[in-house]
Amino acid sequence: MKYVDEYRDQNMAGKLAAEIKRTVTRPWTIMEVCGGQTHSIVKYGIDGLLPKEVELVHGPGCPVCVTPLEMIDRAHAIARQPGVIFCSFGDMLRVPGSNGDLFQVKAGGADVRIVYSPLDCVRIAAANPAKRVVFFAIGFETTAPANAMAVWQARARDIRNFYVLVSHVLVPPAITGILDSPDNRVQAFLGPGHVCAVMGYREYEPLAPRYRTPIVITGFEPLDLLEGILMAVRQLEQGRAEVENQYGRAVSPDGNVDAQRMIGRVFDVCDRAWRGLGVIPNSGYRLNDEFRDYDAERNFELGTIHAPEPAICISGRVLKGLKKPHDCPAFGRECTPQSPLGATMVSAEGACAAYYNYGRRLVSLPSQ
């Protein structure tokens, strides 16, 4: 596939890795923000190509992972109501709430459907006027324009039986939260390429000098990641802290202005709870008052839902780059992708699930 295969060239990957090795003189800790990047790094063994001085830690950029357990329970409570068609991206279906996952809710008789695009749900709503159709609108800034357009379209077509359960999160407040943490060890970031395709990278430009931390907007293929790492290492070695763009083929400095305008029409910025990290101020989107009739949280009676997380889970510290998956005593034992205990195991893009799925269960040997 054009623009994919050429960025997986093994020979070139080796050259980039050699250049990183030549450039590095001391230890550096770099965080890739996005779960898609984590998945690629583990899948292709990118970290195994790096010199021992360069450590990659895995960031909080997996929206499925950071969706709070309470929100998942809320989704299940809505899906179980009679007369509801509950629609979700496939990744969300296997994520367990306090009482099973959406597949089990479906097996219990609920009408749960996997959709590829939020526009599919608008179509389902139009075709089923006697039902209430609810879409689980999760995601980062990348997904927000699509979800916003679905709501916008529903209103434009006067479709009144369409609702969204919004659990949108934003990347820059999470980066700031990690950098403000007193035990932070991240020295540079690989920024989220597709989030920036939508948002551009202007909002990251004040962060790099303020925290003296390079941010390299980076793509998702092996050569993208290696080039992003090389650019970050060069900045660190030269004492620079700037925003650089490795992913110029998809990201422009101002991003997609039309998409940003649609986000602004439909959503307001709000405080959001992140699974594993807690509430981060101004870190998410919710529907604005103009679209309140489409807001599932305001139109479904759900009562109080409280869902405590298992105490053993260290996913909060994994998401901040303080711990690796195999530092957790439950990793691969009580906690697996089939029965995850926390954020980083619930989705294939979570660091723990990626380590588990690509056979890194035996990495931490018992100390002698």
């Binding site: 054009k2 623009y3 939020p118 989220p192 083929r249 998809a250 039309d258």
Partner: protein, 85 residues
């Protein structure tokens, strides 16, 4: 989740008052919404996420990684120490 796949626009169409396009991903084709793409043209590549094109693929920028690597090779040759006389 933030996965976006590069695909080639093979057809433009209008659907429910939205600009849509048929996108070819190396042989598999699917519809995508092109509302967020300024002046989309058949033959151009776009990055598609959950059925929405979120940016055009900049062909010149795409070639940049290769130039960068080619230059790195040349530097490697320069870096070879000159033979002792």
């Amino acid at each position: 989740m933030c996965l976006a796949i590069p695909g080639k626009i093979v057809e433009l169409e209008e659907l429910a008052c939205m600009r849509m396009g048929r996108i070819d991903y190396g042989g598999i084709t699917r519809n995508a919404c092109l509302e967020y793409i300024a002046d989309p043209k058949v033959g151009e590549y776009v990055m598609v996420h959950v059925g929405f094109a979120i940016s055009k693929v900049d062909a010149e920028e795409a070639a940049r990684t290769y130039q960068f690597l080619a230059e790195m090779d040349q530097l490697e040759e320069i870096a070879v120490p000159e033979p002792e006389p």
